[in-house]
């Protein structure tokens, strides 16, 4: 079976600034890959390239063996399969929690509202927020909002979930509930590419950890290899600093 996501020698520049310098990466079904590295190392850019929020300058990105650089590819269709969760939640403030979750299925997949409603409520049940379904997002805590944002992505039944430092904007006491949800998702076999600063979480949940430094993929391995015995000097230095 083809890899869910495959990056080959991906280069991304913003003007003169080369943010990704030939990154290659592979995600098989049910893989949970954690991207670690300092701010500005290219983690977020890599995620945004993977769902075509950014266009790459060289290399290829493939989804299930199909190149996304093919001019016939419709970015909107790609994004229906590759969901993304953001650091700042970005819930839609004018819609209730339930309607936030319904946006994707109803307006992107054109499914009937009545038909998706039960599914959405089940998702909210799963994240423990069913009783808040009629609330507006600004009534929720940061952790709750981020869980809703994850549910909103899951409502699309994506093949791949991209998570961009989803706990970085949260109060430390609220990080746990979001990470617990992600851990559940990992155990249920959700394919995820996660940019994170939470090293313990990466160690527990990832089956591959990728270290990026200034746009270069320095090292990749299982959490055991990466955290106990990193091969590269810069990986060691980074892990020293964040520990």
């Amino acid at each position: 079976m083809a890899a869910v996501l495959e990056l080959v020698d991906v280069v991304k520049r913003f003007g003169d600034n080369e943010v990704l310098r030939g990154v290659s990466l592979n995600l098989d079904p049910h893989d949970v890959v954690c991207l670690i590295g300092a701010s500005g190392s290219g983690k977020s850019t890599l995620l945004r390239c993977a769902n075509l929020l950014e266009t790459i300058d060289a290399g290829t990105i493939s989804l299930f063996g199909q190149s996304l650089q093919d001019p016939r590819v419709d970015p909107d269709l790609v994004r229906q399969h590759v969901a993304m969760v953001f650091q700042s939640f970005n819930l839609f403030p004018h819609l209730s929690v339930l309607d936030n979750v319904l946006v994707g299925p109803v307006y992107a997949l054109k499914r009937r509202r009545a038909e998706v409603r039960d599914e959405a409520l089940a998702l909210l049940e799963r994240i423990g927020l069913r009783e808040r379904s009629n609330d507006y997002p600004d009534r929720l805590s940061g952790g709750q909002q981020q869980r809703v944002a994850i549910a909103r992505s899951l409502a699309m039944r994506p093949s791949l979930l991209l998570l961009d430092e989803v706990t970085s904007a949260l109060d430390p006491t609220l990080v746990g509930e979001v990470l617990d949800l992600l851990t559940d998702l990992a155990h249920q076999g959700t394919t995820m590419l996660i940019a994170t600063h939470e090293m313990n979480f990466a160690r527990d949940v990832a089956n591959q950890v990728v270290y990026l430094d200034k746009g270069v993929l320095v090292e990749q391995g299982t959490p055991e290899e990466m955290f106990s015995n990193p091969k590269h000097e810069s990986t060691r230095n980074f892990l020293e600093r964040v520990r």
């Binding site: 994004r79 004018h94 946006v103 994707g104 699309m156």
Partner: protein
């Protein structure tokens, strides 16, 4: 040396009282002060009009109850047109124009905000349109449409009443302003909203319609209302084309009877129109805010 404080060097408690002057403005005392100052201001304004050397003339010119009533109801036998009837023209003109402006303004804003390369010529056109319509005095646009279109001999287009040309002018002119208000509203929605919507696979159009515009519209209600109030008053400009609306009727009354109380009537009627509008908008804003904050 001991660092513990002894009796002598115990710190004096800090001074926490507001200055006397400011204490006057707090609580019930504040209410009394504001009521008092309002009364004084009103008295001063009233005194200026009442005690001025020309006060009596001024009052009989602008506030003569008999003339005000006459101007309001009109008098066909003397060729005096009713200001009240004239206002009906103003009302349907701005009601019609407001609906059209909301639609045309949205279209122009959407075009200006579009990104598709195919729409480039339209985008350029929309930009020029907005620049021109905001730059040319509305009176000139009114003349060009009201006197120009009939000259064209274009059947339906050249065959309308002055009031209809007035609506066309208001619509064309105010759409440019309203388009800019919409555009500012759209740009005020955080970029993350766009990213989130596009990441869900929504098309640009669906993103606009379902996510960006609903938020933008809430942001633009106050400035939009501002333009509408301004437009309500500009309906008076159709008098330049010969249409009889409230101010024109007042002017006829003034020219005939040599008393300007009709203008006062028109002013009061316009006020009665705009005040409920501002109240209504405040109500809408408050309702939206409460609904979002008080949902349990």
């Amino acid at each position: 040396m001991s660092l513990t404080t002894d009796e002598d060097s115990a710190p004096t408690p800090p001074q926490l009282f507001a200055p006397r002057r400011r204490r006057l403005l707090v609580g019930r005392r504040g209410l009394v002060v504001s009521a008092l100052s309002s009364v004084i201001v009103l008295l001063v304004i009233f005194a200026i009009f009442w005690l001025a050397p020309g006060g009596p003339t001024f009052r009989s010119f602008f506030f003569n109850p008999h003339d005000m009533w006459q101007a309001f109801v009109g008098n066909p036998t003397k060729g005096l047109l009713s200001v009240g009837r004239g206002l009906v023209t103003n009302i349907w003109m701005f009601l019609l124009s407001e609906v059209l402006v909301l639609i045309l303004g949205l279209v122009i804003a959407t075009v200006r905000l579009s990104q598709s390369p195919v729409l480039f010529p339209f985008r350029a056109l929309a930009t020029i349109y907005v620049d021109v319509m905001r730059g040319v005095p509305i009176v000139l646009v009114m003349y060009m449409i009201g006197f120009g279109l009939p000259e064209l001999n274009l059947g339906f287009l050249s065959n309308q009443s002055p009031a209809v040309y007035g609506c066309a002018t208001l619509t064309l002119s105010y759409s440019a302003y309203v388009a800019e208000v919409y555009r500012a509203g759209v740009l005020s929605v955080p970029h993350g909203q766009l990213l989130a919507a596009r990441s869900l696979g929504l098309t640009h159009t669906a993103t606009m319609r379902r996510v960006i515009l609903p938020q933008a519209v809430r942001n633009v209600i106050p400035p939009l209302l501002n333009d509408f109030i301004s437009m309500q008053k500009d309906t008076a400009l159709v008098s330049l084309l010969g249409a009889v609306e409230a101010t024109r009727a007042a002017q006829i009354y003034g020219d005939t009877v040599f008393n300007f109380s009709g203008f006062t009537v028109a002013a009061i009627l316009f006020l009665l129109l705009t005040i409920p509008m501002t109240r209504f908008t405040d109500h809408l804003i408050a309702r939206d805010r409460n609904r979002r904050l008080a949902a349990t």
